[in-house]
Symmetry: C2
Subunit: 219 residues, 2 copies
């Protein structure tokens, strides 16, 4: 029953210990469980080669950017999936522990790029990924800015305040710190401006740039 792909379960797999001396008694419950399990197997998305390729690559990319491999893989799977998936489906498809899925999903939820939805007739939570790529990256970037850029700006400001002008080399240190602080302020500025614009506009601006470049190259 565990090796989903290799064989379908037989009814016998569900037979209870209620065997009689004359033979097995299959009650409704048993038959129902059997039917359910077969349906589950049929519904379970088998990964195509392309999907596997995408999910594996995405996982690797994640690790390079300080994002957990499993988290990234789950996101990739949900992004490609046309329907919301239950935690167990995710676990089986990616061959990871159920608990691992739980914590990973939670992380994706805190980023706001995955959310739980409910499917009629199913008590389990199903998870689906946001599909708007631009919005997704905007969210991730915003979070990371908050967690990494902002504290750095903070630190630089504190450093500049703490700088003792009587100390040897204070002038040079101040110069360097100010240059770095200037950069981070500018990045923040850029981010704020991007945030203000709706997704479509950024996309259009970029496309405009592309066209201009092409015209220039042609002319």
């Amino acid at each position: 029953m565990r090796d989903r792909a290799s064989r379908l379960p037989g009814v016998a797999d569900f037979a209870r210990e209620s065997d009689t001396p004359t033979g097995r008694v299959l009650d409704f419950c048993v038959v129902f469980q059997y039917i359910q399990s077969v349906l589950k197997v049929l519904i379970m998305a088998e990964l195509t080669g392309v999907q596997k390729q995408y999910i594996l690559h995405w996982g690797e990319m994640g690790t390079r950017w300080g994002i957990n491999r499993t988290v990234a893989q789950i996101h990739a799977l949900l992004y490609l999936s046309p329907r919301a998936l239950a935690a167990e489906e995710i676990a089986e498809t990616l061959s990871v522990a159920r608990s691992n899925v739980s914590t990973s999903i939670r992380e994706l939820e805190t980023w706001g790029i995955v959310r739980a939805v409910h499917v009629l007739g199913d008590r389990r939570e199903h998870y689906e990924s946001m599909k708007d790529v631009w919005e997704m990256f905007r969210l991730v970037i915003e979070q990371r800015k908050r967690r990494e850029i902002d504290p750095t700006r903070e630190m630089l400001r504190r450093c500049l305040a703490d700088l003792d002008p009587h100390e040897a080399g204070a002038d040079y240190t101040r110069l360097r710190l100010e240059a770095m602080a200037g950069f981070f302020e500018a990045v923040t500025e850029l981010h704020d401006q991007m945030k203000r614009l709706p997704t479509g506009t950024v996309r259009k601006l970029l496309r405009m740039g592309t066209k201009m470049k092409k015209v220039k190259a042609a002319g």
Copy 2:
């Protein structure tokens, strides 16, 4: 002699086993070594509180972006240092093994943000960081793009090519892959355009944006 900060070495620390029955004989070599060591200690940059703060924070930030802590710390140290530092100075200042410094410096060199320079009268290599913050980040971003964005674009293209249109759900997968590919193409476009502009222009554009925002807010 190892605990640089705690005490200066005495001449006795260098005395050879050439002691005579009547008393110690200090030859020129010994005195010279002594003088050198004292000079070294005096020259060795003692980190100020602010410098420590900056270096530690930078190291932490590095780890979050998939950059080795030591690599980031060394960069921070060199960035703040008004003069090029020898490997051993770096090792002692940051309390890491020289071998670690060697490999870390090499990595910084491959990124092009640190380079070896020679100091007159010193056979050792000294290392200094690029000081132009904008240029530094441009270099790092360019490298990371090459190592991470480009392979991802590659993968997406391959996926789209490999997609079997007869397979179930191929249409949906194509949709998702194309959306993602579009995003990565746009990012590449943006990067190329930024690269084309000299550092100063990007800075000016940003500042312009800031001013516009301020005017708008005031008016």
